[in-house]
């Protein structure tokens, strides 16, 4: 074990500044206080299809995490891997109901919202259905998902300072990038989602979340 850790060295995260899935992994790494090397994968230039990257993640998605000889693609797998390897601070509560709720919220984002408005889907819609239809579609998917999450949080009465209590948990790691993108890029009207809007301001005040923001990444375009 000690030998493996000595040779493992620094983790590398393959990321794109604007990718909300990469954003989740960046938040998790920052929360756990893990130093990592940022490896750029420019999605707009198609670098996810470079043979070297496909070897790391056959799905050709960012993020991918390299930890010694371990390669982990997928933000959910990365988050849970980090949770196991770096138990402090914990992202999942011991209470089974609250733990399940965190997974449920994370899954609504990771399965129910984000995949429905990623690059592939939007290109298809703009090409086949009509230019600009992708924007409307994205809005609808986000609104559907945000309505569900807002209702879920209110139903469970679980929110504290953060989504499921007073500590940052897995749900927050997944929510923050989705809310940020919804506000910045899709211009969603957050007045319908008071809890999510409040959570957004909490995230924007938390150092680990701020350092993970798209505009703070090495590959973010410099402001003109």
């Amino acid at each position: 074990m000690a030998e493996a850790e000595a040779t493992a060295g620094r983790l590398s995260l393959y990321s794109y500044w604007r990718s909300s899935c990469s954003h989740r992994a960046r938040i998790a790494l920052n929360l756990k206080g893990v130093d990592y090397e940022y490896k750029v994968v420019n999605l707009l230039k198609g670098e996810q299809s470079d043979p070297e990257f496909v070897k790391l993640n056959p799905m050709k998605f960012v993020p991918a995490l390299v930890d010694g000889d371990s390669v982990i693609g997928d933000s959910y797998a990365i988050a849970l891997y980090l949770e196991d390897k770096y138990p402090e601070p914990p992202l999942l509560p011991h209470d089974l109901q609250n733990k399940a709720l965190n997974h449920q919220i994370a899954s609504i984002v990771a399965s129910g919202i984000q995949p429905l408005h990623n690059l592939t889907v939007l290109r298809f819609i703009d090409q086949k259905v009509g230019a600009g239809e992708g924007v409307l579609w994205t809005q609808q998917q986000i609104e559907r998902g945000f309505t569900a999450i807002e209702n879920l949080i209110q139903l469970k009465g679980c929110a504290g300072k953060y989504a499921t209590g007073d500590e940052v948990q897995l749900a927050d790691v997944f929510l923050a990038p989705q809310i940020y993108a919804a506000i910045e890029r899709t211009k969603i009207d957050m007045s319908n989602y008071p809890t999510l809007a409040r959570l957004h301001s909490e995230y924007m005040a938390h150092p680990a979340f701020v350092a993970a923001l798209p505009g703070r990444q090495p590959d973010a375009p410099s402001p003109s």
């Binding site: 496909v54 797998a77 399940a100 449920q104 990771a110 995949p115 429905l116 209702n151």
Partner: protein
């Protein structure tokens, strides 16, 4: 394993599978477990498999997606996103198949679905995520209905096939050289629970050619010999249409 208390479900087709599964893990009487499910929902199928593997009895509560029963206010209270499956365990309500599976894994540790080894664990979560986030949601009814409405059902089928094939291509690469009985070992794990419903649905409903995915095809054959998987098949469910 499953029962619907409101219909006359012939038990003989369940007994064989249930008895065989009982030989692996003795059934645990948990009448407080209720699973809201639709026969054809691959997400529901995942949970059915896991409940069977863990030897957990449950009450089957059908939600007819084709009749929009997921929009009933009572069901929306159980799952605000209005998807199946949802699980009720006494006072606890959990929705989303991934959340349900991880909950079952914690609460009922018999027949563990996640290995201890961190790399193998991560691989299981990654495979589950590929299926659960990158394949299945793209064929789910919001997307399907949108494409069918704006274009036509042929485009919806082609779209679905494209994403299944894309996902299966990646999975085949991830599982290249797999020499174990199941995806990540000689016991069923989380990856298998996610893989089979996607493969089964891909073949039955979308005509996916599995000959280009030899590892997945081999795994599929192995799953079809497992009692827990057989009992979870869509056509075995109480709400499946009779032939």
């Amino acid at each position: 394993m499953a029962s619907d208390d409101s219909s006359n479900v012939p038990l003989q087709e369940l007994t064989g599978a249930a008895a065989a599964t009982a030989a692996v893990v003795p059934p645990v009487k948990s009448p407080k477990l209720k699973l809201y499910s639709f026969w054809r929902s691959s997400c529901s199928q995942r949970v059915r498999i896991a409940l069977n593997l863990k030897g957990l009895e449950y009450e089957y509560k059908p939600v007819n997606l084709l009749a929009n029963e997921q929009s009933d206010p009572e069901f929306e209270r159980l799952n605000p996103i209005k998807y199946v499956p949802a699980l009720v365990d006494g006072e606890t309500i959990v929705a989303d198949s991934f959340a349900i599976l991880l909950y079952l894994e914690d609460k009922y540790p018999q027949y563990p679905l996640l290995p201890q080894d961190p790399k193998k664990r991560a691989l299981n979560i990654q495979i589950a995520s590929i299926v659960g986030s990158s394949i299945q949601p793209l064929q789910n009814y919001p997307v399907w209905n949108f494409i069918e409405e704006k274009l036509d059902s042929n485009e919806a089928i082609k779209w679905t096939q494209h994403h299944i094939n894309r996902g299966f291509t990646a999975l085949e690469k991830l599982l290249k050289g797999c020499s174990t009985k199941y995806a990540t070992g000689n016991e069923i794990q989380l990856a298998d629970v996610f893989l089979e419903p996607q493969i089964y649905g891909g073949i039955k409903r979308f005509g996916i050619d599995m000959s280009v995915y030899p590892v997945l095809a081999r795994l599929h054959e192995a799953f079809l010999e497992h009692p827990a998987f057989l009992a979870a098949l869509p056509e075995k469910q109480p709400d499946a249409p009779s032939l």
